[in-house]
C-alpha cells in the first residue's frame, strides 16, 4: 500500500496541475503498474480545483478503467473535495464508456 500526502506536494489549496501531473506520472501510475494499492491522503487540503483532480486521476481512469477505483482510496477529504472527485470520476466513467462503445 502506497500513501501519497497531497498536502505535502500541493499545499492547502491544491490547484497546481503541474504538481498533479507529476504525482500521477511519477507516483500513482508506476505504483499501480506494480499492482500496489494507493491511498491519496487529502489531510490538510482545504480545497482542490476540478482541474487539479482531473490532472491527478482522469488519465488513470482512462488507462485502467473504472476498476482501478478498487485500488485507490481517497482519505481525509473534506466535503467539497469529495464532491469534486465525484464529478471527475462520474464524467470520466461516462466518457470512457462512450469511447469504448465507439470502438466496438
Amino acid at each position: 500500500m502506497k500513501t501519497i500526502m497531497i498536502f505535502d506536494k500541493a499545499g492547502e489549496f491544491a490547484e497546481n496541475k503541474d504538481i498533479a501531473r507529476d504525482l500521477r506520472t511519477q507516483e500513482i501510475l508506476p505504483a499501480l503498474e506494480r499492482h500496489e494499492d494507493i491511498t491519496l491522503d487529502f489531510g490538510g487540503v482545504r480545497a482542490a480545483t476540478q482541474s487539479f483532480i482531473h490532472a491527478l486521476i482522469s488519465d488513470i481512469l482512462r488507462k485502467h478503467g473504472s476498476e482501478v477505483l478498487d485500488n485507490i482510496s481517497f482519505k481525509s477529504c473534506n466535503d467539497t473535495t469529495k464532491k469534486i472527485i465525484g464529478i471527475v470520476v462520474d464524467y470520466m466513467q461516462e466518457g470512457v464508456e462512450a469511447d469504448l462503445d465507439d470502438e466496438k
Binding site: A55, G86, D90
Partner: protein
C-alpha cells in the same frame, strides 16, 4: 489603439466601453478619461494594462487625468503596469486595503504563490477564499495553458464595501478562444467559440469525452456556474465575440444550464476585435451559496451534458 475610461463601467454596463475600444494602429495606445469621475471595474484596468504591455512606453499617450477619482488608477498600479510616469500623488493606504493591484502572471508557480498571498489582502472568510482562489486559479491557468500569450495573464480585483462584493478582471493578449477551441472544433464565429468554451466537457485539446490527461474543458463552466448560482455577472470577450451572464431573480432551486445560451444572458458578435481574451466576474459575498451545494448541481448538469452528447452519437434506426 484608443481606449477611453468612462465615468462608470462595471459588468452591468460594460458593453458601451467595449464597443468604444479602437484596436486600429496597434503600435500606439491613446488613453483618455472622463474629466469628472472615473469609476471602473477591474476588467477595464486589466484590459488597458494588457494593451499597454504590447506597446513601447514612449508610444503610450496618456492624457492628464482631471477626474477626482484618478488616484484609484495609481493605487491599482495602472501607470506602473504601463511603465509610464504620472504626476498623480497618492497617500499609500495600509497593506490591507482589500484590493489586488494589477498583477502579471506568466508561470504556473507564480500563480500558486499569488493565490496563497492574495487571500490575506482581501480579508475573506475561508469559504469565500476558496471560491475566489478557485476562480483565479481556473482563469489564469486557462491563459497559461491555452492562450500562448507572451505577457501571460493580467489581473486585478477589488472589494466593494457597499455591495459586499469582490470584482475580478483577467485579461490576456494571446490567441483568443476561437483559435484554441478550433484546434478540435469548427466554430465559425468568436461567439460560437465562446458558447463551446462555456459548455462542460468541451476543450480545444480534444473532442474525446473526458478531455485529455491535463484538460477536461470544465473550468469556464465551473466559473459561470459559480456566478449563475450566486446571481452575479460573468463576462467573457474574445475576438469579436462577447457573452454576458446576466443577474437572475432569486429562486429556491439551484439550476444550471450546460448551454450558456440557455442562461439569462446578452451577447454580441461584432465588437471591436480583442486579440486575446478578457474575463470579468463579480462575487457577492453575502449571497455566496455554499460551494459544496453548488457542486451537487454541477455534477448533475455535467453528467446530463455528457449523456446528451453521447445520445447525439447514437446510431439512428433507418426507416425505409
Amino acid at each position: 489603439m484608443r481606449v477611453h475610461l468612462p465615468n462608470s463601467a462595471f459588468l452591468g454596463n460594460i458593453d458601451p466601453f467595449f464597443r468604444g475600444f479602437d484596436p486600429t494602429n496597434p503600435e500606439i495606445l491613446e488613453i483618455t478619461a472622463n474629466e469628472k469621475w472615473i469609476s471602473v471595474h477591474p476588467i477595464v484596468l486589466t484590459m488597458v494594462a494588457a494593451l499597454g504591455l504590447n506597446v513601447k512606453p514612449e508610444n503610450i499617450r496618456c492624457e492628464k487625468f482631471e477626474a477626482t477619482s484618478k488616484h484609484y488608477l495609481v493605487r491599482m498600479g495602472l501607470f506602473k503596469a504601463l511603465n509610464i510616469s504620472t504626476d498623480i500623488n497618492i497617500v499609500e493606504h495600509e497593506a490591507a486595503g482589500r484590493f489586488i493591484p494589477l498583477t502579471q502572471i506568466r508561470r504556473s508557480d507564480e500563480l500558486t504563490t499569488f493565490i496563497t498571498e492574495m487571500i490575506p489582502l482581501l480579508h475573506l472568510e475561508p469559504e469565500q477564499a476558496n471560491t475566489l482562489g478557485y476562480i483565479v486559479s481556473e482563469l489564469v491557468r486557462n491563459v497559461l495553458e491555452h492562450a500562448d500569450a507572451k505577457n501571460g495573464a493580467i489581473l486585478c480585483a477589488q472589494y466593494y464595501k457597499k455591495s459586499n462584493s469582490i470584482r475580478i478582471g483577467i485579461a490576456d493578449t494571446g490567441v483568443g478562444v476561437k483559435k484554441t477551441i478550433n484546434e478540435s472544433y469548427d466554430a465559425k464565429t468568436d461567439l460560437e467559440a465562446l458558447q463551446l468554451a462555456l459548455t462542460p466537457g468541451i476543450t480545444g485539446t480534444t473532442t474525446r469525452e473526458g478531455g485529455t490527461a491535463q484538460n477536461a474543458g470544465a473550468g469556464l463552466f465551473f466559473i459561470k456556474s459559480i456566478a449563475s448560482v450566486n446571481r452575479d455577472f460573468f463576462v467573457i470577450y474574445s475576438g469579436h465575440g462577447f457573452y454576458k451572464l446576466l443577474k437572475k431573480k432569486p429562486t429556491l432551486r439551484l439550476d444550471l444550464n450546460a448551454d450558456p445560451f440557455k442562461d439569462r444572458h446578452s451577447k454580441e458578435e461584432n465588437l471591436p476585435f480583442w486579440q486575446g481574451t478578457i474575463v470579468g466576474v463579480d462575487i457577492t459575498l453575502d449571497q455566496t451559496a455554499e460551494f459544496s451545494l453548488l457542486l451537487d448541481v454541477i455534477r448533475k448538469t455535467y453528467s446530463m451534458a455528457v449523456k446528451e452528447r453521447r445520445k447525439m452519437r447514437y446510431k439512428k434506426p433507418r426507416f425505409i
